[in-house]
Symmetry: C2
Subunit: 344 residues, 2 copies
């Protein structure tokens, strides 16, 4: 049962004026008699008239709405990003349509399609961990619909991006473990499909090689972002003939999975294994021991993505892709700090 909302026509009929006059009165346009305007505005208030946005958007060919697709709204990282996105969007007079892909390529694709039909003026997307084809994005680009990638991006897409320097951040985290005496450092690297994973892997390798350490493929564990995966992969790592004495986890959720495994197996942190992760969720400092983690300025990143997108929407000039790289900060806590035997 659709409700029967008040329309401009109802107001016009009741006041014996044309709909054009009502429209002008309600939108503060000039060239309208003060008395007419007052009458219209009062009746609109009395009847709680709300303009039908479908109609105005259709006629103006503008929705002032941007579509957002993140893998999971419940992740701390994305919910903070969305805070930044909404803030910047509202400040610029835009609405935000939030959707999640649930890490599914198929869902990402249908979300793109649904939002396109709904006439969003642009997209901010963080790729699902399954996404390895990009045709749905190329279609957007061909149609001239602005797109900004956020956090999880792909080099196959020539669009604006907002990211951190993943390689450098992972190298710093790994170096930190080396400085704390680790010599066999494993990594819970994340999904193999994401380019962010490979950037972090490069940083991990950089740090090991700087220190003359070999890269042991057995210490590199790819997997999805679920806690279950972290638990299983950590078990496998600790079952190695030479288990690791340090672990880089590319998200706090993975780190928590690893910690559960360590606890179950009686492995002490940081004495037996030192641990550092990414995202610096509030939970990091509440765990025992508190977790060292790479902090990202995620709200700012959300704002930046929105500003890039809106600039693109409002610019007549052809799009010039721009990548904004944000600084990170390694927050050191007890999970990675050890008494290091001073050598040499």
């Amino acid at each position: 049962m659709r409700s029967n909302q008040v329309t401009i026509k109802d107001l016009a009929r009741h006041l014996n004026v044309s709909v054009a006059t009502v429209s002008r009165a309600l939108r503060d346009l000039p060239d309208i008699h003060p008395d007419t305007k007052r009458a219209v505005v009062e009746l609109a208030a009395a009847w709680d008239y709300q303009p039908n946005q479908l109609a105005t958007s259709l006629v103006k060919n503008r929705t002032r709405t941007i579509g957002v697709i993140v893998p999971n709204l419940g992740y701390y990282f994305f919910s903070m990003a969305i805070r930044g996105i909404e803030e910047a969007a509202h400040a610029a007079g835009y609405s935000v349509l939030l959707t999640q892909s649930n890490e599914s390529y198929q869902r990402e694709l249908t979300n793109i399609q649904d939002l396109t039909r709904g006439q969003v003026e642009g997209f901010i997307v963080s790729l699902s961990q399954e996404t390895s084809q990009y045709e749905h994005f190329h279609r957007l680009i061909r149609k001239g619909i602005p797109l900004v990638l956020f956090d999880r991006e792909s080099p196959e897409l020539q669009v604006s991006k907002v990211v951190i320097d993943n390689r450098q951040a992972a190298a710093q985290a790994t170096r930190h473990l080396l400085e704390n005496g680790c010599r066999r450092i494993a990594i819970l690297a994340g999904p193999d499909y994401l380019s962010l994973t490979h950037q972090r892997m490069s940083g991990y390798c950089d740090a090991l090689q700087e220190n003359g350490l070999e890269i042991d493929p057995a210490l590199i564990a790819y997997g999805d972002y679920s806690q279950r995966a972290a638990i299983e992969l950590t078990d496998e790592l600790m079952n190695l003939p030479e288990p690791p004495d340090g672990l880089v986890a590319v998200s706090d959720r993975l780190a928590v999975g690893a910690m559960m495994t360590f606890r179950r197996r009686g492995i002490r942190i940081p004495e037996d294994i030192a641990l550092v992760s990414f995202n610096n969720e509030p939970v990091s400092e509440l765990l025992s021991p508190p977790l060292s983690s790479v902090a990202q300025p995620v709200m700012e990143m959300g704002r930046a993505a929105t500003e890039l997108l809106i600039r693109q929407i409002e610019s007549a000039a052809p799009m010039v892709p721009e990548t904004r790289v944000f600084p990170t900060q390694l927050v050191v806590r007890a999970s990675s700090v050890r008494q290091v035997a001073v050598t040499g």
Copy 2:
């Protein structure tokens, strides 16, 4: 720069048919020549035609869209509820517009207004912790726009609701502490404005009175759902001349704040104070000690709210408010289990 999407008119022009024919061909209506249909469908695919949903919604006076307002998308509880809502909505052919009030009454109000203008066919709302006026909801009801309240509801609104038995759940949690030897039980009760808060308070009082214990107002701490509030209130409770030996926190986030305070002050859980909370977030079992918590079937509750709403949207009959109460389960972990001296 709005993109210039392909329209039905473009297809019609190129194929030398009328827009009506194109429209019929694309929607699998009968009474159309197979050849015509094939030509239209092929061209639409080739040009990646996407129907403009603003136009179809306008003409059909239906958006098949429901609006959702939750206090915070990042809370585990709400992100799970949204999973249930999206699942049920999509199964019924509806889209979901997600918004958050950020616990702000003002924001809740503008979200209602924006979504109304956007012509959602109904609302699922969980009240902000600030909400103590209900005129924005009464307006919806007067307009005949279906509304279902979820979790945080108010007795002032005669609409369908999906809730747990908060009184019974809080009583059970409190009894559990009593059985574990607590005799001075405090409660982090949540925001004073929410009726859910008062229901839980009633349950807390029930359990104390059953056991012949007095209700000490000094042990009842109202406050918002922030961790900061929990930390401060817990400090105040522990500063009492006779501090509590048990604590009921009405959410895991509050419990975590309390735990931080206990740790800082060297108070042991459960030896010095036993702790039980609500929501049973995954983090509960990872804390040390693992946290006892009241589990709610939140995805199911989201599904139920959606089904109630859609039934209302699609029914011609006048709305009969229906309240669905879901069962809870107290998950007992180490934070509340003590060796109790057997008496008598």
